[in-house]
Structure formats: C-alpha cells, structure tokens
C-alpha cells in the first residue's frame, strides 16, 4: 500500500501548504502591504480590529467568504469559474520546491526534484493562462484589456526571469533548489563573481516584480484606466482566490530570490566583532532616536521597530558566535528573515514608484533586461571556465 501512503502524504502536505499560503502570504501579506503603504504615505493603516489592526484581514476574509457569487449574464460560465482556481493552484504549485530550512538531517521541503527551478518557472508561467481566461470569460472590455496586457507582459518578462534562474543554475551546477542552497555554503551567489552576481539578482528581481504584476509593472490591473483589470467582474471568494494566487506568487518569487541569491536558510558567516559592531551601531541609533524625541514622530516609529529588531538579531548572533554554536539560530528563522526582507523591498517599491507605460515596460524587458541577462550569462560562463 505504498501508493496509498504517498497519496495521503501528498494530500496532507497540500493542506499544510495551502493553510500556510492563506495565512502567511495572503492574510499577513495583505496586512503588511496595508501597514507599510500607510507608513510610506504617512497614514496609520488598519488599526481598529485587534491589536494594531492585526485581525483586520481575518475580518476581511470572513466578509469575502459571506459575499454572493455573481456571474455576469453573458459570461462563459465554465471558464469564468475555473480561472480563479487555476491562478490559485499555480500559486500553490510554486511552493512545492521551496525549502524552508533544515530540521536535523531533513530538509523542510515538499519535494526536492532534480529540475527544481525549471519546475518553478514552468508553474509560474501557468498563472497567465488563468488570468487571460478570467479576463476573456468576464465578457467585459476592461477585463479583456487587463488580461491581454497581462499576457504580453508576462510572456516577455518570463525570458529575463529564466535568464536570472539560468545564471544561478550555471554557477551552482544544479537545478535542484536544495542543491543551490548547499552550493552557497561558502559565499552567497549575490556576492560571487562580482559584480555579475548583483547584476543577475537585479535582473531576476525586476523580472519577478513584473511577472507578479506589481507596481511599477501593474498595467494589467491599473485601477485608474481599467477599473481593476482582469478580475473586475469577480466577487467574493473568487476575487479572494485571485488575490491569494497573486500574493502566493509574489511571496514565492521573494522566497526563490532568497534561495538563489541570499543563501536560503544558511546563516551568514560573519566574525563576532562584526556582529558586535553592527549591534552597537543599532543600539546607538535607537538610543539617539528615543532621547532626541524623534521616536514620537509617526513616520519614524516603523524605522525604530525595524532597527530594534535587527539590533536584537545582531546581539543574539554575537553571543551565539561567542558561545561557539555554529548555527546559532534555527534555519527557518533565517529563511523567513531573508524572505520577509525581500517582501518588504517589493512592497517598498510598489508604494514608491509610479506605473510605467506599456511601451516603456516592453522596452525595458526586450532592450535592457534581455541583453543584460544574456551578456551576464556569457561573461560569467567565460570567467568560470577560465577560473577552472
């Protein structure tokens, strides 16, 4: 009955992964997005439901669950109903190859397959079919325009994305995500073959931002032109499934960037004095902010919180390294720290930059990112071959 246990295991892991996506990426992601956007625009963000508005997205989810499903009269019902599920499932499948860390000898990953990152980009490319189908089936001109924009954008940005992934695969010598993390034990890939690691990381992150349709590349859902783009006709939970798929994919891109360029779950291998210096500098700035009274300013409070958190991390690391423990913190802590740092970066970008025009968007992909990615691949390959 080996196949029965395999199927049971698959079902259980799917449930765990889906719960993780719904709670961490969708609910917590939306909360973070609203809080950080509030901070950047000098507002408070959600505040009334629960402490600091933490339960706001749970209340929103309950509201969305109760809403009526509306299907437009002239819509293609079958495709209309299938499209959100396709987007959500594609977002879920991305996470199959993401390793969260290490527990003893086991790597915390659903499946470590030998084509890991190829699988990831294949699954990420499936989202666009759901988006296009949903936009077409709604029988609404705004939705159709949004779907078409999404298709042209995602097809053209898949190439720089794949070039970024190829660079990592070439340097690591493997496509497996676990293998890529293990290959970074000495040096993170963002610092290897300088400055080409940084270039590859920038190419990948830009293409990833465009691939998940976030500002400054959010033309498919440009509110001011297209109402809401491809999901303009969707209500209640179907709308929520689109959002879930989008956030799942945005977080998956951040997680993959952390795995490919920032060493995944590996701990940064710095000497104790550097941790101490960073910790003392952090404490100094925090004390300065509190003493000068600037901490009461609304706009500085999040900075204070982030600083205090990273200072605490530095101090813990200093004492850990002094005590001689080799991995000081459990590995998932590092994975989530890196992933949320990148998620913060994505949200920061979203609320800072204005939207591009469609021709600028396509020019950036075909005339800047594609040649840069190709040259990067060529030069790095040459350098690696020469060094060998």
């Amino acid at each position: 009955m080996a196949w029965l246990t395999e199927i049971l295991k698959a079902v259980l892991l799917t449930l765990v992964l889906f719960t993780y996506l719904a709670v961490v990426t969708a609910m917590f992601g939306v909360y973070l997005e609203r809080k950080i956007s509030g901070w950047i625009q000098a507002r408070l963000g959600p505040k009334h439901v629960g402490p600091q508005g933490l339960l706001q997205t749970i209340a929103d989810t309950v509201k969305l669950l109760q809403k009526e499903h509306i299907t437009p009269r002239q819509a293609d019902v079958l495709i209309f109903n299938a499209a959100p599920i396709m987007v959500a499932v594609a977002g879920l499948l991305d996470w199959v190859v993401i390793p969260f860390g290490r527990l003893g000898d086991r790597v915390l990953v659903v499946r470590d397959i030998n084509i890991g990152v190829l699988y990831f980009s294949a699954m990420a490319s499936l989202t666009v079919i759901g988006i296009l189908a949903g936009g077409w089936a709604s029988n609404n001109k705004y939705a159709l325009l949004g779907g078409l924009r999404a298709a042209s954008q995602m097809v053209s940005y898949e190439i720089p994305l794949a070039l970024g992934i190829l660079w990592v695969a070439m340097v690591a010598g493997t496509l497996s995500t676990v293998g890529i993390v293990e290959a970074q034990r000495g040096l993170w890939f963002i610092f290897s073959v300088p400055p080409f690691g940084v270039l590859a990381a920038v190419t990948f992150l830009t293409a990833a931002t465009a691939e998940v349709n976030r500002v400054p590349f959010d033309l498919p859902e440009a509110e001011s032109e297209l109402v809401a783009g491809y999901f303009a006709e969707y209500t209640g939970m179907r709308f929520a499934l689109f959002q879930l798929g989008e956030y799942a994919e945005a977080f998956a891109m951040a997680a993959l960037a952390a795995i490919m360029f920032l060493g995944g779950w590996l701990e940064p291998n710095l000497p104790a004095w550097l941790w101490l210096t960073l910790g003392i500098a952090g404490v100094f700035v925090v004390v300065l902010l509190v003493v000068s009274g600037a901490a009461r300013e609304l706009i500085l409070q999040p900075i204070l919180i982030l600083l205090a958190l990273s200072t605490a991390l530095c101090v813990i690391m200093f004492f850990g390294v002094q005590a001689g423990r080799s991995p000081v913190l459990p590995s998932p802590v590092w994975f989530f720290t890196k992933m949320f740092a990148l998620v913060f970066f994505l949200i920061w970008m979203r609320w800072t930059y204005p939207r591009l025009r469609l021709d600028q968007l396509l020019n950036l992909s075909w005339k800047v990112l594609l040649p840069a990615g190709l040259l990067n691949l060529l030069i790095t390959g040459f350098l690696i071959t020469v060094a060998r």
């Binding site: 293609d76 190829l118 699988y119 294949a122 079919i129 189908a133 029988n139 298709a151 097809v155 898949e158």
Partner: protein
C-alpha cells in the same frame, strides 16, 4: 499496476480535452482545452522519467504557446473571438485520414519485435542532455537555432513593412 492506472488516468486527461479542442464550436474554448492536454502529456513524460522534457513541455507549450494562441485569437477576431465559429467541412476526409493513420500506427506497434532492455536505462540528467546537444547532435542543434533565427528575422521584417 500503479503505473498502468497512472497511464490510463493521464491518457484520459490528455485525450478528452483533445476531443474538445477539435469539436468545440468556440475557438477560445478550443485553445484553452489545449492546456489540460499539454499537462497530460507532461504527466506521461514524468511517467517515463524524462523530468527535464516535462518541465520544458509545461514552460513552452502550456505557458507560452497557448498564451500566444489566445493572444492571436483575441487580437484578430474583433476583440473577444466569440464571433469566429470553428467550422469544419472536411469531417469525413479528416476521419478517413485519422483512421488510416491509426491503422498504420497499430500495424507498426504489432509488427515491431519489442525487446525489454536487459540493462538499466542510461543515466538521465540535464548535464547529459546538454553534453549530447553539443557533441553528437551539434549540427542538428545549430541548424534548429538557425531556423529559429530566420523565422525571428522574418517576423521582424513583416512587422516593419506595415509601418
């Protein structure tokens, strides 16, 4: 036993939407039905332990070719594509060709003396695929690249002429 069950399920996943592709009156539905067909073929590749081909199959066929098809339909057919009906006036001819082809394939399958390999299958990984491309099959590989390049240049020239 498990392999047979998987094969039957994957064949159904491949063939039922394939029938929809050729019989549906709505051209967008036909194009979208290609997605499960491609995914079923991917499953068959995985059943044959050809993971790399499976990944490429999803990336190219399901992720790019279908999108391209839908894109073309939606851009040419007066917006949404619902107005073009897929008409097929050559059903008898097509059925005859299909039956003939099926007969030929069955003939080949039953006439070939299949031998089950005594040794294990050769090591299959991406590195060996790449090595084969650049050593034994380098000419075919380069000619294919050249064909793609020519079609790319042709597309650009056609697009330029309209300006």
């Amino acid at each position: 036993m498990g392999e047979l069950a998987a094969f039957i399920i994957l064949s159904c996943v491949t063939l039922i939407p394939a029938v929809v592709v050729v019989t549906s009156g709505n051209i967008v539905r036909s194009a979208l039905s290609l997605v499960p067909t491609f995914l079923g073929v991917t499953g068959l590749y995985i059943l044959l332990h050809a993971e790399f081909v499976a990944g490429i199959q999803i990336l190219i066929y399901a992720g790019a070719i279908t999108v391209l098809l839908l894109f073309v339909i939606m851009l040419t057919a007066g917006g949404t594509g619902t107005r073009i009906r897929q008409v097929n006036e050559q059903v008898p001819l097509g059925a005859m060709a299909a039956v003939w082809l099926g007969f030929l394939i069955l003939l080949v399958i039953f006439r070939t003396p299949w031998q089950s390999a005594a040794t294990a299958a050769p090591q299959y990984n991406i590195a060996s695929v790449g090595t084969a491309f650049l050593t034994d099959y380098v000419l075919i590989f380069e000619v294919t690249s050249l064909v793609l390049l020519v079609s790319l240049i042709g597309a650009i020239i056609i697009a330029r002429r309209e300006e």
